[in-house]
Every structure is written in C-alpha cells, then in structure tokens.
C-alpha cells in the first residue's frame, strides 16, 4: 500500500517515494558502497525492506512521533536509510557534521533535544558519550560499525543491525502502528532539520518540510534532466543541505543512484571508478584538481608539456563555445577533436570526470580560470547559488548561459528580488518552515509573505536577468573615507591564486584595508621543492622571505585589478601578513563548511590587526591551537608585515 495521498503525481512524503521506488524501479540498483575493495550494491526492493525493518526496530526502541533523531557519520547507505526509517516512524532526522568536536555536537544535540543518536562508529559514539551528561533528553544510541564497541555498556547502546533484526520480528500491532504513522505524513510534516554552519554565532536549526525537500528535488531534477540513469558520488557532509538534496532528496524522488566511497581518503579513486554523471563539488575541490593536473604537467616530458600547452590554449578559446553549442569553424572543431583524443579525454579520465553530464559548484565564488579550465575540457560545470533555508536552490545557471561571474537565473518556482539595501530576497516552495526554537531569527529572516532574506548583497543584471553576488550583506561596510568595503570580493580574487588558500580582509571603519593570508601548503610546498627551498614546517615555509615576495606580488596584482572597479577601489590592500598557522574549523576560525569567520578571527588575532595598522615591521605572537583529538597547544611566531603597492587605476605608487 502506498500511503501519503497523491497530488498530481507528486507524493507527499519520503517514505511514500521509497515504496513507489520499490514498485517501479524494484530491482534497479539504488545505492552502492565500496567495501572490502568491491562495490556492493542494493536494489530499491532491498532498500525498502531494510528501511521498513529498521523503522519497526526504532519503533520498538521507543521512537515517538516528532522526536529528533541525530545521525552522525560519513556518507554511508545505511545512514541514509536510517534517515528514511526515522521519517517512517514520524520522527525528524537531524544529520550532524561528523568532524565536529564534542562541544559543538553537544550544543546541537541539546538544542534539538535529540532522544536517539545514530552514529557511524566508535569515534562518533565516544564524542556523544563524552558530553552525554549535558544531554538529559538523550535516551538511546545506535551504532553502525561494531568495531571496538564490544566492551561498552550496552544497556542504552545498540548495534544498528540488531535493531533492524528485532524489527523483523515485530508484531502485527507494531506493524499497524507503523502504517498509521506513515499514513499521517504529508507535505506539511517535517522532513529534516539541518543546522546551518553558523558563519556568525551559534548554529541555527533549519526546519524543512516534506514539501520543501520534495518540490526542490523534483525541480532540480527537471531543470537538468536528472533521472534514474544518473550516478552521483556522495562524499560531502551529510549534514549539509546540498548533500541532503542531491544524495537523498533527488535519489528518492527520481531514483538517481547514490554511490558511497570506501573511506574519506579514497574519494578521488572511487570517483574515477564510478565516473558519476552528476557531480557536485565546492570550488576548493576543483581548485585542488586543477593544482594536481598542473603539478603533474610540470613534471612531464617536454613533448607532452608542449602538446598540453598547445591544445589547452585551443580549448580555452573554443571549448566553452562548443559546450554551449555555439557555432565554431570546422577547422577549430577538428582540432578540438584531436585535442579531445590526445589531451582532454585522458585528463577527464584521470580526474574521474569522463561521464559528467552536469557538474555544479557552489558555496563560494570560483576562480574564473579554474571554472574556464573545466569548461574548456568539455565538462558542463555550472554555478548554483543557494542556502540551507532555501532547500539549496535560489539561482542556477541554465545550459548555454554559463559564466564565471554570475550565479545564474532564479531556479524553477523561485522568485528573486533585491531589497532597497541591496540585499537579495527570494520566495520559493523550498523556503524553510522556521528556525527551531528561535522565533526571533525566523521573523528577522522570513517575512509573513514568505520572502526570505539571504544576507547576501547582490544585483540582477538588467539585460540578462542573471544574479551577481557581491558579498555578505552584513560584511559590506564602509571605510572611514566613505568608500565601499566588500571584503569577500577582494578575498576571492586573492584565493584565485593557487598559492593562497585563505585570505581575511579587515578595513570596516578604518582608513584603509589590511589582510591576513594563508598559504596553500601543497602548492607552495611544491614550489619550494622545485626552487630548493628547505622548510620543516608550515610555519617556517610561511615566513620564508621568498614566499612573502611571491605573496606580495599576488597582492599587488589583486590591488591593480581591484583599482579598476571604481566602486571598490578603496578595498586595496595596504599592508598584509602571512599567518603562521592554517585557519582551521577545529579552532573555530572557519565554519565546518570552511567559510571564514571574520569577526572571530579579528578578535582572536587582535594583536596582529593592531600591528598591521600601527606601522610596525614585525610582530611576535602566541596562538592557541586545538589538535585533532581535542587537546590544546600553543605556537609562537614572529611575523613579518609587508607593505603592498597600491594602484590608482592607471599608475601605481608605493604606499607610505
């Protein structure tokens, strides 16, 4: 029996879709996971059976309707299924970031009042046990991987497989109870609660209904013609809205096959083996792919390097045009085909992108040369702008209208408008229900008519209708001279250099702008190796005068490029320093999705900001760092401060 009433072919709940899939796709593979070196696969029939049995098991353990059940772990089919089972019993899954430290987890678990926790392995269980005293509502814990768990007290701790097995034995009354609960689910029921990464302050629980997830997933599939023949590799955190839509929502509504990597470290080789047709990655992954290609080309023979340079130059010219089906000359086409055979196809194959039909990047701005590189190879890489509150989709780039400097046009069923202060607002079927236990924030963000404030400043291009994002609305400020301060805009330009991993710009309310720079250890380390520069640590490399020279060169180029934009020319960097440590989410400097927390960094490194403005040449500083296992330590360093030349648009002059 398919429960959940139908409205125009659209089912109203995830469990209803799971049952439909068991009927229509029955023996088609639904999920795969690499285990013991082999890809294991499960059909929709098996998935539906498993999910139902596990749901009955959860019912027996005492899961109630409306409970919050946290799911912590890496991308694994069993965890996705557990979320489906949780929905079947009428509870709400709350996926968490697996690399969150215990205190972060404690906040989220107590905020949502999770009664059950479903964890991947011992590591996650240990973290929850560490903070369980602060979690009065926590009742039962379930784990997936039994390794190391034998000695634990099992009075409130269960093996997922045992819970499922007990579900097999469920009584008729229990089965009826489950059917009743599934029957009650509709568009208004809560599908999932996702915590925002919290660029500022504590994370907020974004409540998303079945309608939000199902309609957004369906629209996304329709927009790019995604269906049951497509493959995706699920490797991004399950707590992130993108993964929830791509690996869960779209899988459930359209039967996209979900492939889970063997471990976190094997993602790249698993990508190569699966060859997904639908691929999603944040810009930094594309960046590291490009870096790895460039490094290997540097090491190759002269002939190969020449071939690469020759054909890539050609691809940069015509690749994007061919991808957009725009006319190109016959000779250019033939030359591109030869290049495809010799260069492009092998590179795509090495990167595991041979089959990619649709690729997306989002989360941060992507460097134009990175973006163009992939498009010239013939990979249909596009940009998407979205947020958790929108069930991800706000704007997307349609095929044929792809550019690196915009984020596309409003997604299907999404309305976008720009507020009087330049902030972007949207209204869509994916727009969230509320922030959990936080009516003030809900009211601030979503007005009674359903318009949601994104917190980003941007504008719609009048002739194309494409949206361009400038910066976070609250980050956009003014320098003391009155000119506009848009830090992200400048930081992104800096980050487009492979040598620069992160940049943090300061300047609101000041005379001019200064910056912290983080070097990229892979790229700079490789450069150091080639130039015979010895170093023993990140800290040592980052303070090497030659590295500083190189960074200075990048900064000055960015200044020149910034100066060309009249509105933002005040944002040029007058002084900068290279940080002695990598900014890290464990130290609270980045969010779990690796976005810079400007305010926290500014407070933490207050001494450095002061030094940047008071004109000193160097500064001694001590910084507390958190190791992976949660212990803390201190590192000390003396940092050099450099002045950068600023441009006035045409001629350049030295600062100070």
């Amino acid at each position: 029996m398919v429960s959940g009433s139908e409205t125009g072919g659209v089912l109203q709940s995830v469990p209803a879709y799971v049952r439909r899939n068991a009927k229509t796709f029955s023996n088609a593979p639904a999920f795969r996971e690499k285990q013991f070196g082999i890809w294991q696969s499960w059909t929709w029939l098996q998935v539906e059976k498993y999910v139902t049995e596990l749901a009955l098991g959860l019912l027996q353990l005492g899961a109630r309707e409306g409970d919050h059940i946290a799911v912590i772990g890496r991308n694994r089919p069993h965890l996705y299924w557990a979320m489906m089972s949780v929905q079947m019993v009428g509870a709400v899954p709350v996926p968490l970031y697996q690399d969150a430290v215990a205190e972060e987890m404690s906040y989220v678990l107590s905020h949502c009042g999770a009664r059950f926790v479903i964890a991947d392995d011992q590591e996650q269980v240990d973290k929850v046990l560490e903070v369980q005293e602060d979690l009065p509502s926590l009742d039962q814990m379930i784990y997936l991987d039994a390794r190391g768990m034998r000695k634990y007290d099992h009075s409130k701790l269960h093996d997922l497989e045992k819970v499922r097995e007990s579900g097999v034995e469920a009584s008729t009354t229990e089965r009826q109870e489950l059917e009743t609960r599934i029957g009650k689910l509709n568009f208004q029921s809560i599908c999932v609660m996702l915590y925002t990464s919290g660029t500022t302050g504590k994370p907020k629980g974004v409540v998303l209904s079945n309608k939000n997830i199902i309609i957004s997933s369906l629209n996304g599939c329709k927009f790019d013609n995604i269906g049951k023949d497509d493959e995706i590799l699920s490797y991004l955190p399950i707590a992130w809205v993108g993964d929830f839509i791509f690996s869960f929502g779209q899988c459930v509504v359209s039967g996209v096959r979900v492939n889970c990597p063997e471990s976190r470290e094997t993602v790249l080789s698993d990508l190569r083996e699966i060859g997904p047709s639908y691929y999603f990655a944040p810009p930094r992954i594309f960046e590291s792919m490009l870096t790895s290609v460039m490094l290997r080309i540097e090491d190759t023979s002269v002939v190969k390097k020449w071939l690469y340079d020759y054909f890539m130059a050609h691809a940069t010219q015509v690749g994007p045009l061919i991808l957009d089906k725009k006319p190109v000359g016959r000779w250019a086409l033939i030359k591109y085909k030869v290049g495809e055979f010799l260069i492009y196809a092998p590179i795509k194959n090495i990167l595991g992108l041979s089959q990619v039909r649709v690729g997306y990047t989002a989360g941060e701005a992507i460097g134009p040369e990175i973006f163009d590189f992939f498009r010239s190879l013939g990979i249909n890489l596009k940009q998407l702008y979205g947020q958790t509150e929108a069930s991800i989709f706000v704007t997307v780039q349609p095929d044929g209208e792809v550019r690196s400097d915009t984020v596309g046009v409003p997604a299907p069923d999404v309305e976008v408008r720009i507020g009087s202060n330049g902030e972007v607002y949207y209204r869509s079927p994916g727009a969230f229900v509320e922030y959990y236990k936080n009516p003030e924030s809900t009211a601030e963000t979503k007005d009674p008519d359903g318009w949601v404030a994104t917190g980003d400043a941007g504008f719609l291009e009048p002739d194309t209708g494409h949206l361009r994002i400038i910066d976070r609305a609250k980050d956009v400020g003014k320098l003391s001279g009155g000119s506009m301060f848009a830090p992200k805009y400048v930081e992104n330009k800096l980050k487009f250099y492979p040598n620069i991993l992160e940049a943090v710009l300061f300047g609101a309310g000041r005379d001019n702008c200064v910056a912290f720079i983080n070097i990229d250890l892979t790229a700079v380390g490789y450069w150091a190796e080639r130039n015979n520069i010895a170093y023993s640590s990140y800290q040592e490399l980052s303070s090497n005068p030659k590295v500083l020279d190189m960074v200075q060169e990048h900064v000055e180029k960015v200044n020149k490029s910034v100066s060309e934009d009249e509105m933002l020319s005040g944002c040029q960097i007058h002084r900068f320093l290279v940080l002695h440590k990598e900014l890290d989410a464990d130290d609270g400097e980045l969010t779990r999705t690796r976005k810079v927390r400007r305010k926290i960094i500014g407070e933490k490194f207050d001494d450095l900001v002061t030094a940047l403005y008071d004109g000193s040449d160097s500064i001694y500083t001590e910084t507390e760092v958190t190791y992976e296992d949660g212990r803390k330590g201190k590192i000390a360093a003396t940092l050099q401060i450099r002045n950068a030349a600023i441009s006035d648009g045409s001629t350049s002059m030295a600062a100070e």
């Binding site: 285990q35 000695k151 063997e262 471990s263 080789s269």
Partner: protein, 271 residues
C-alpha cells in the same frame, strides 16, 4: 603480585585465559656475550604483554627466541602446553606466531595489498605453477585469501593506499602495512617490535587504538616491545622488565612502575 594461576580479569573487563607461551630459564649467548640470562615468564591467552628495558637489554633477542629465530643455549620454550622442539621460524610461523620488525621489513616495490597477501603465503595450498596460471582452484583460493586481506585492510583503515607501492608511503603508514601483513597470518600470538618507534603523537594514538582493537576483535594475544612508557602503561596488562639480559621485574604496569630495581635501571642509581 596477584595470583594469576587460573587467568584473571583485567580492569577493563577482559578475561585473560590460560598460559599460551611459557619461557623457562632462557639463556642466550652470542660467543662470549650473554644477551639473555636465565629469564622466565609467561604470556597468557588474550593478554597484551609488554617487554621493556633500556637499549641493549635483550628485548629484541627475546622476541627472536619466541619466534624461533634464535635458539637459546639453555632453557625451554613451551607453547600451547607443549615443549617446543627446535624448528625453523617458518614452521613456528605456521603454528600461529607472527611479528613485525623494528626496522620495517616490507617488499618496497610491491603494493600494500600485495604485501598483505604475502602474509597469507603460508596458508596457500596450490603450488607456484597453479598460482601462476591463476585458474580454477588456484583462483578460488586466491579469492578466499584476498577477502581476508581486504577485511584487514578495512580494519586498519588503509583502503586509500591499497594499490600504492609501500616504498613511497610515509613511515607511520608502512608500520601499519606491516601490522596488516602480520594480521593476515591470523596469528594466535602477535609479536610487535617497537610498533610506535619514530611516530608522532597522533600516529601513536592511532596505532594504540589498532593494537587494542586487534586484541579485542580477533582475541589475538600480543607481546610488544616499546620505549614510550605512557604507551606501555596504557596498553599492557602485564610488563616484563629486562636489563642487561636479566629480568628485573614482572607484573602489572603499576607494580612495575613502583619497583625500585626498575626505577634504578631507568633513572640510574648513585653508588
């Protein structure tokens, strides 16, 4: 020392069983050098047994006696309640004793999985030519062994380097591959010669966890040599202390730590 004749229960609730190996009055000489003098101790089933001592105390020699590489001039080795006659190390390995080395001894040109597979070599029944042809029963046999190796690769979380030649791996990972190869033999008694030497804190923690997990999951008895005292005190159920080939003490980590002779040997003593 507590009475452990019938086995005992550890603090974390593991049941330690009967004596698996007993070394009785072992004396080992190389020419005039006396490496081990009259040492006696036992290793019990399911136990993690540490052998510690200053440099040159005879720890590695002791492991070599246990796995039959050295034959002591005096004394007896009892394994599974039987006195072990002199036999080649390969035969002893077949009885269920595997080891890792202080200086990693892997095949550097071979990949991780190939190295781990060599741990199964003693169990493969088909001869070289069958294996070369890789058909029928030889293929079936290889599949069975490969599955076991993959379980161990998964267990030690080295999937990402499955097909990487071990020569290009960092030291900490090579140590892990060596442990994987030893585990592939499905040993009853696993000898680890300085499993954490040269590792940083994080790698040591990982390795400690793996050693505990091996002991827990497979019930493998483990005898290890280690210099890092905090590691020994955390891991070991009982500790033997050697100094200049003589046994200084034998007991739980706490007992050994309080033993005056041990303190003197480690910190030096004023005469």
């Amino acid at each position: 020392m507590k009475d452990i004749a019938q086995g005992y229960m550890t603090e974390d609730g593991r049941q330690i069983g009967a004596v698996l190996m007993e070394l009785k009055n072992i004396t080992l000489k190389f020419g005039g050098v006396q490496a081990i003098t009259n040492a006696s101790f036992d290793i019990r089933e399911g136990e993690i047994r540490a052998i510690i001592g200053p440099n040159g105390a005879g720890k590695s020699s002791m492991l070599n006696v246990i796995n039959g590489f050295y034959h002591p001039q005096e004394g007896e080795v009892w394994f599974h309640g039987k006195k072990r006659p002199s036999m080649p190390p390969s035969e002893i390995a077949r009885q269920g004793i595997a080891r890792t080395f202080q200086n990693i001894a892997l095949f550097h040109g071979m990949t991780t999985v190939e190295n781990v597979m060599t741990g199964r070599q003693l169990m493969m029944k088909k001869n070289f030519f069958w294996q070369l042809l890789r058909v029928g029963p030889a293929l079936e046999e290889e599949t069975v062994h490969r599955r076991k190796c993959e379980e161990i690769i998964d267990f030690l979380e080295i999937q990402a380097i499955r097909k990487t030649p071990v020569g290009s791996l960092p030291y900490g990972l090579q140590k892990r591959v060596e442990l994987a190869r030893a585990l592939a033999m499905e040993p009853k008694l696993l000898l680890l010669d300085e499993p954490m030497a040269g590792m940083n804190v994080e790698e040591k923690e990982d390795m400690s966890r793996f050693i505990l997990d091996v002991n827990d999951q497979y019930g493998t008895t483990i005898a290890l040599i280690e210099h890092d005292m905090s590691v020994v005190m955390d891991l070991a159920d009982r500790v033997v202390v050697l100094d200049y080939g003589k046994m200084l003490a034998d007991g739980t980590p706490d007992e050994v730590q309080k033993n005056q002779a041990v303190i003197d040997a480690y910190l030096g003593v004023e005469n």
